[in-house]
């Protein structure tokens, strides 16, 4: 064997060793999760709910758990790049696409990496793939409770709802809220405005202002663009009901009750399944009954 061939052989061996490394790392004792989410980890809503769950798991499992989190990927193509990179690296035991807009990426990616487990939500569709988990929130349950309480507390009988786009857990929440309010007081007026955006804080704020000038004394809303609406409630002496994450600190004296998503409840089950060799094929729903949904009181609720 001449010198050149020997060098070539060494390079090939080195490449083989290097390419095998990530697989070797995935087989160590640390459970590694990678997650992508559309908005910021401090959005007081959807993305934060997943980030908080993973942070909680990290604090409970310590060195046995690790995660990376790609936030703010509202461009679906950007999320696709991150998800593919993580899958190709072979370093992760579970890859989470936290947003219903990422479904088609998972459907395409999961069959290519049958040894990797994927999870996505909010949805119930696992695409018939045995390495895909789906998860969703029965947000209508907490919505119903919030709505019932709101109708009970409302003096003007007018309640304003600021919604994003009429889909997914936002729609579930709003529908549940309306049903809850009407169950307590059939005469209560629940006015709903879907502003057509998950991010337009300005329009969401003015939607809240418009409800105020039409006599609403209670406001609620879903998704990350409601921060300005919460400020409107606070500044005008109205009450606020929230969902997805606790907004009690921002709402201060205006916050009554918040439905909080506890994804850690189902993530724990997923981790156990993956460690036992089951990589997917199941759809989860967080509910009040299984502890995945929790009602948290704000200052005005105590």
């Amino acid at each position: 064997m001449n010198k050149r061939n020997l060098t070539l052989l060494l390079v090939v061996v080195a490449m083989l060793v290097l390419s095998a490394l990530p697989i070797a790392r995935a087989q160590d004792d640390v459970f590694r999760v990678a997650a992508v989410a559309p908005s910021a980890t401090n959005d007081l809503a959807f993305s934060q709910s997943m980030f908080d769950a993973l942070t909680l798991l990290k604090s409970e499992m310590g060195d046995g758990f690790d995660f990376v989190f790609q936030e703010g990927t509202f461009v679906v193509d950007d999320a696709a790049v991150a998800l593919r990179e993580w899958a190709s690296s072979g370093e992760y035991d579970l890859i989470i696409a936290h947003g219903s807009q990422y479904g088609s990426i998972i459907e395409e990616l999961a069959p290519e990496f049958p040894e990797t487990s994927f999870a996505w939500g909010t949805d119930v569709n696992t695409f018939g793939l045995n390495n895909v988990f789906a998860y969703t929130a029965a947000s209508d349950q907490g919505g119903f409770l919030n709505g019932a309480m709101a109708a009970y507390m409302s003096e003007s009988g007018i309640i304003g709802v600021v919604g994003p786009i009429e889909v997914g857990d936002a729609k579930l929440y709003v529908d549940g809220f309306v049903a809850g309010a009407q169950a307590v007081n059939p005469d209560v007026q629940v006015l709903v405005n879907y502003i057509g955006s998950f991010s337009d804080v300005t329009l969401a704020t003015e939607a809240a202002n418009t409800f105020v000038s039409n006599g609403a004394d209670i406001l609620t809303g879903s998704a990350q663009m409601v921060t300005g609406a919460i400020a409107v409630a606070k500044d005008n002496g109205l009450l606020w009901f929230g969902t997805q994450a606790s907004q009690a600190d921002l709402a201060e004296g205006a916050g009554v009750m918040f439905q909080v998503y506890r994804w850690d409840v189902i993530l724990k089950d997923m981790i156990e399944k993956i460690q036992g060799g089951t990589l997917g094929g199941e759809a989860y729903t967080i509910t009040l009954a299984n502890g995945g949904l929790q009602m948290v009181m704000g200052q005005a609720g105590n």
Binding site: A40, S213, Q224, D235
Partner: protein, 308 residues
Amino acid sequence: MIENILAPSVFATCLRLSTPYLFAGIGEMFGQRSGMLNLGVEGVMLMGAFFAHYVVLNTGSLLLGVIAALVVGLVMGVAIAFVNVTLKAEQGISGIGVYLFGLGMSELLFKTLVGTPRSVSGFPPLHIPVLSDIEFLGIGQIFFQHNLLVYVAFALVPISAYVLRRTPLGLMIRAVGQTPEAADAMGINVARVRYMTVIFGAMMAGLAGASLSIALLNVFQQNLTSGLGFIAIALVYFGRWRPVGVMSGALLFSFVNALQLQISAIGIDVPSEFAVMAPYVITIIALVFASKQTEKPTALTKPFDRGE
């Protein structure tokens, strides 16, 4: 029914919604009249919004908040002018760079320095004595019960129209935007005029951001402006590079938005998709029927080279 739909509060909402468009749009208009396109308005707005909010959160002083937004605009304006005027960069590309910088940097600073969305006590409504009490047609509520920045934004319209039309400075700006070679031959320092307009435009964009974070919304979060800066640029084209035109566009767009909010608030069932679409559709229709007479600067986006 109609008096419910067209309640005074709808017009008041319309004026509030127009405010950030006026600041950002009129600032951008000055830049464009001198031949400089700044596609990065949104990025400067985000930085202005963040710093105004951060300063008010920590000092409680609204004046300092406004100054912070203006200073951020000034600094970014100098950088934009240096890249576009001195280095003669492709303005469309550099503008996208400014946008992405502002988007990422404001989020990073927010995350590091503040952490989670928090509200501040922003500019309170300023009831103008006597006038705010006029009940006839709701005039008091519509025009005279706003926060200070709303009045400033609308005052900017006649002032900038006057500056552009009736002052030597306005003449210089227009000359530089139409025929920079001729302006240069007449002894006007083209680069200096362009630096001025770009910096002024960026300062107004900073103020537009502040009008959101410490006057209208009183919160800051990731991507707070959500495309508002790009609509402001479109309004400059819509308004055919005239202050009153920019204001008309801002008012029309905001009015349709305010109207769709009111229609939902009084319980009229309109499909939400239609309501969301309406402002854009109506603005486009208005554009089709609007006067074709334009003052588009012929040297827009063209760097000036003295050819020495």
